[in-house]
């Protein structure tokens, strides 16, 4: 495994205009890597993520995003993502193009992407207004039963960024606890950057563990507490207080800018 720092990894793997998927379903959100993207002033990114969460609220507010592909944009258990809303409702800091799906649709788009298929089939969206506003939702007919089902276009981001608990010295990566779509997004993407809490000699077995072999990953970077204020199961808990505080910080454009200057740089 190649030794590399976070700044170097982001500089090398993420280019202006790329489609970038930072995933982690509540758990293991790669916040430190997102902050590095802000610091490097990446622009015109297509940000992809099921649950934009605080991490995309920050990237959108900082002006990194041209487009957002997502399925649920809220502050879980708290309320709105104000930078996300300000971008969509008021075009601030600039207009944000959106492409929205359901969770099942996004998950299956990653699965299709990881599988080298052009599309995925699911029972979903039927009767809703989503297909009318989202061109990556169509229908397909079962060649055996004639049933009409939803079809969604595969997702193959330029770069996947995820956070994991452990990597071994050869670059194999291990996640446990809630593993979300981590495996799928890494395998669906052209390049993958993984930040980890710890580099170990031997990966420990855990319930529900997912191991990604080294060859699926382009860079592994050790970043302790790299998911904060999200959490890393077995390492630190979710900073629920910060999620609540974010509501007030992000509600105000200036307060947001000041917070970002002070805490991200």
């Amino acid at each position: 495994m190649r030794e590399i720092g976070l700044a170097e990894a982001v500089a090398e793997l993420v280019r202006d205009g790329d489609s970038v998927a930072l995933e982690g379903f509540t758990h293991l959100i790669p916040v430190a890597a997102a902050h590095e993207i802000v610091r490097q002033r990446k622009r015109e990114l297509t940000l992809i993520r099921m649950t934009p969460d605080l991490v995309y609220d920050q990237l959108i507010g900082a002006g990194c995003a041209r487009k957002l592909i997502f399925s649920w944009g809220g502050n879980p258990g708290v309320g709105s993502l104000h930078r996300f809303r300000d971008a969509i409702e008021n075009g601030y800091p600039h207009r944000l193009e959106i492409e929205e799906h359901s969770h099942a649709g996004m998950a299956n788009r990653y699965v299709a992407g990881a599988s080298g298929l052009p599309f995925a089939v699911l029972r979903g969206y039927i009767g809703t207004d989503l297909p009318a506003v989202t061109p990556t939702i169509k229908t397909v007919r079962c060649p055996f039963t004639g049933e009409e089902l939803a079809a969604v276009l595969a997702l193959n981001p330029d770069v996947a960024i995820v956070h994991a608990q452990q990597a071994d010295r050869r670059g194999n990566v291990a996640f446990w606890g809630i593993t979300g779509v981590q495996k799928e997004v890494v395998l669906a993407s052209k390049k993958a950057l993984v930040t980890v809490e710890e580099i170990v000699d031997e990966i420990e077995p855990h319930h529900g563990q997912v191991v990604l072999p080294a060859m699926a990953v382009d860079a592994v970077v050790k970043v302790e507490r790299g998911a904060h204020p999200s959490y890393a199961h077995g390492y630190y808990e979710r900073d629920n207080g910060f999620y609540r505080e974010w509501d007030a910080i992000s509600r105000d454009r200036d307060k947001f800018a000041a917070w970002m200057r002070e805490h991200v740089g």
């Binding site: 979903g124 989503l130 809630i178």
Partner: protein, 235 residues
């Protein structure tokens, strides 16, 4: 103890859950109701959260759908694609819990925008797991505060269409779908009148011939619900 309207709504939702069912839970009020049911009359209820935890037995209410507490207490942890494909879409889920910003008389839900999609007055979080919960759960329980902004004649956007039988628990009463799928008022909470509910509904609400009055929350239901919330606040 005196129950708040939110507590009455949560307790009413919890009571809808029969013991032993497989329940797909969203965060917030649905999670409170499902966990209250598990802690009282439905101990064998199996909770699934869309984050991939099956059979979670949290002792405090999770703040988010992916809390560590859910993973720690689950029988099995699976990926998000698996939860949606192998569990929800496969038709294993008996009951889905949903909230929404807007609902229409057929129980269709809007969680996407208020106003025009391209130039929304309010941008809401979006679909999340709702469209597929609505389509695949055998039965759907919805929980919303009752007012004319939420209970509307026409949705700004149709995010989710419930297929099976549906019940809506509000802070005023209980609505159930009839054979045509239309929601009918079947119960009012204590001290609420049918007229109040009709006034809080943006369409001409049909009312059952036998509207009952909800049993108020018991001492035990309230105590357990508050303890679950306390745990969450302490965390």
């Amino acid at each position: 103890m005196t129950a708040t309207t939110d507590e009455i709504m949560t307790v009413a939702a919890a009571r809808e859950l029969r013991d032993g069912v497989l329940c797909f839970v969203g965060i917030g009020l649905p999670s409170a109701a499902a966990n209250l049911a598990r802690a009282t009359h439905a101990p064998n209820c199996v909770l699934i959260y869309e984050s991939g935890t099956i059979g979670a037995k949290p002792t405090r209410l999770p703040l988010s759908i992916g809390d560590g507490e859910l993973a720690d207490t689950a029988d099995a942890l699976v990926s998000v694609p698996e939860i949606f494909n192998y569990w929800l879409q496969a038709g294993r889920v008996d009951v889905g819990f949903l909230g929404a910003a807007q609902i229409d008389k057929y129980g269709r839900l809007n969680t996407t925008v208020v106003g025009d999609y391209a130039e929304p007055r309010v941008r809401l979080p979006g679909a999340g797991g709702a469209p597929e919960i609505a389509a695949s759960a055998k039965e759907v329980i919805m929980v919303l505060r009752h007012n004319t902004r939420a209970f509307v004649e026409e949705l700004s956007f149709v995010t989710s269409v419930v297929k099976g039988p549906r019940v809506v628990l509000t802070d005023l009463g209980v609505l159930r779908s009839d054979d045509t799928g239309e929601l009918v008022l079947v119960a009012v909470h204590p001290n609420v009148t049918v007229q109040q509910v009709k006034a809080a509904t943006g369409w001409d609400l049909r009312v059952s011939d036998n509207v009952t009055v909800t049993e108020p929350p018991t001492e035990r239901e309230l105590a357990v619900l508050r303890a679950l919330h306390q745990g969450s606040v302490r965390a």
